[in-house]
């Protein structure tokens, strides 16, 4: 969310609106200066500031009085952590910051993203050969495959797709990334074993998300 900065002198209404954040020191230096100037020229502002301080004190006191979290909450959490799968992404060891893998793979550079987009177009044609070189005529579109348990697909994503959006899409489809990126940027996506016979559906669902998915090909 973009921070809306004040420029120029603050209007009296702006000053009053910012008082709750002034008392907690969460206004910008410029805003603080504007409020302090207004305190000198607006006779009733000091009373309003005092009221805000009383409110803040009351809220803080009431919140501090909340009894601690029951100790079993952490135990329960840690038990659930043991049995809860994390949303996994292919790990790039040199970019260990959380969520950085896709950014690292694609970057924010416009030129690189354009190049990536071009590569995505190419990979739709090349992906299967790169991943699983078949004899000519032995591969086809994912929609030609029926009923392969734990089937894999080669998926290329749109350059602007975020890791979060891709993760949500795959989670919704019961699919996970198991390998990649392959040369050209394709990822190997495995469907869950209970999706036997649903490869066509999964492919359609992926292709339906044109905002995220650039292409889908059958894996092995």
């Amino acid at each position: 969310m973009k921070h809306e900065q004040h420029h120029g002198p603050l209007e009296p209404q702006d000053v009053e609106e910012l008082l709750p954040w002034y008392v907690t020191g969460r206004v910008s230096r410029e805003e603080a200066r504007g409020i302090e100037a207004a305190l000198k020229t607006m006779p009733d502002l000091a009373g309003k500031l005092a009221q805000v301080q009383r409110e803040r004190e009351a809220v803080s006191r009431a919140s501090e009085a909340v009894e601690p979290v029951p100790p079993e909450t952490l135990q329960r959490l840690l038990q659930q952590v043991e049995t809860t799968r994390q949303w996994r992404v292919p790990r790039i060891e040199s970019h260990s910051e959380a969520g950085g893998w896709l950014k690292a793979a694609m970057g924010r550079n416009v030129v690189w993203q354009a190049a990536f987009a071009a590569a995505c177009v190419a990979i739709v044609a090349l992906g299967v050969q790169v991943y699983n070189p078949p004899a000519p005529g032995e591969y086809g579109l994912a929609s030609d495959i029926n009923g392969v348990g734990g089937a894999t697909l080669l998926v290329t994503f749109q350059p602007g797709a975020t890791a979060g959006d891709i993760g949500t899409l795959l989670t919704d489809l019961g699919a996970t990334i198991v390998d990649g990126p392959k040369p050209g940027g394709a990822y190997v996506v495995k469907l869950s074993s209970n999706q036997t016979g649903d490869v066509e559906v999964a492919t359609s669902n992926l292709l339906a998300r044109k905002d995220l998915v650039a292409g889908v090909m059958a894996g092995q």
Binding site: M1, H3, P20, W21, R26, K48, V66, V69, G99
Partner: protein
């Protein structure tokens, strides 16, 4: 590294570093981040939900989501803002299930009807205590914005991220929350406390 050293390392780690470790499956980092956030986050949830048991459940669900989704965190906001955003979303879902959002306005209306007169409770009650008590009567949106600004000390921009709304909405909501509080104080006969 012995346990004491590990704990002090956890204490020194930034929220972002702990979250990065969680994304790599480090369960000790879950405990460390939980310990860091449990008190303020639990207070926020108790004040929002007005139900300790539900607050503990939502806290648990929130931290489990942090474990599950740590790899999705893109650093567009601070870790605390991200976690409070998850907690807020879950708290609102819980309230919707309880239909408290709709019932809240009715509860506020009832306050004006059965509020004690100026001569009764107020004399014996600290003004600050009165304000805290009356805040419990505010709508959930108003309680949340007061909590996030006054106790959690988030900026306007951070609150806007947590609530997923424009900054001007945050300021407007705060304005009306305070106005409602003043009205409740006046109904209790505390005219002078109103700004």
């Amino acid at each position: 590294m012995d346990m004491l050293s590990a704990r002090s390392a956890d204490a020194a780690a930034s929220d972002g570093q702990l979250l990065a470790r969680i994304a790599r499956g480090d369960k000790d980092a879950v405990t460390a981040l939980y310990r860091r956030l449990e008190r303020p986050l639990f207070a926020f949830l108790v004040k929002t939900l007005r139900d300790r048991e539900a607050a503990a459940d939502v806290l648990n669900e929130t931290m489990l989501d942090v474990w599950r989704q740590a790899g999705r965190f893109e650093g567009k906001s601070s870790v605390a803002t991200w976690i409070y955003s998850i907690a807020h979303h879950k708290a609102i879902s819980w309230l919707r299930k309880r239909r408290e959002v709709e019932l809240d306005e009715e509860a506020v209306a009832e306050v004006a009807d059965d509020a004690p007169g100026a001569d009764s409770k107020i004399a014996a009650e600290d003004l600050s205590h009165t304000i805290a008590r009356l805040m419990e009567k505010l709508s959930v949106d108003h309680r949340i914005v007061l909590q996030l600004a006054y106790f959690q000390e988030f900026s306007v921009g951070q609150i806007a991220e947590i609530l997923d709304c424009p900054e001007n909405t945050v300021k407007t909501r705060m304005f009306y929350a305070r106005q409602r509080l003043r009205a409740l104080l006046e109904a209790e006969g505390i005219e002078g406390a109103a700004a």
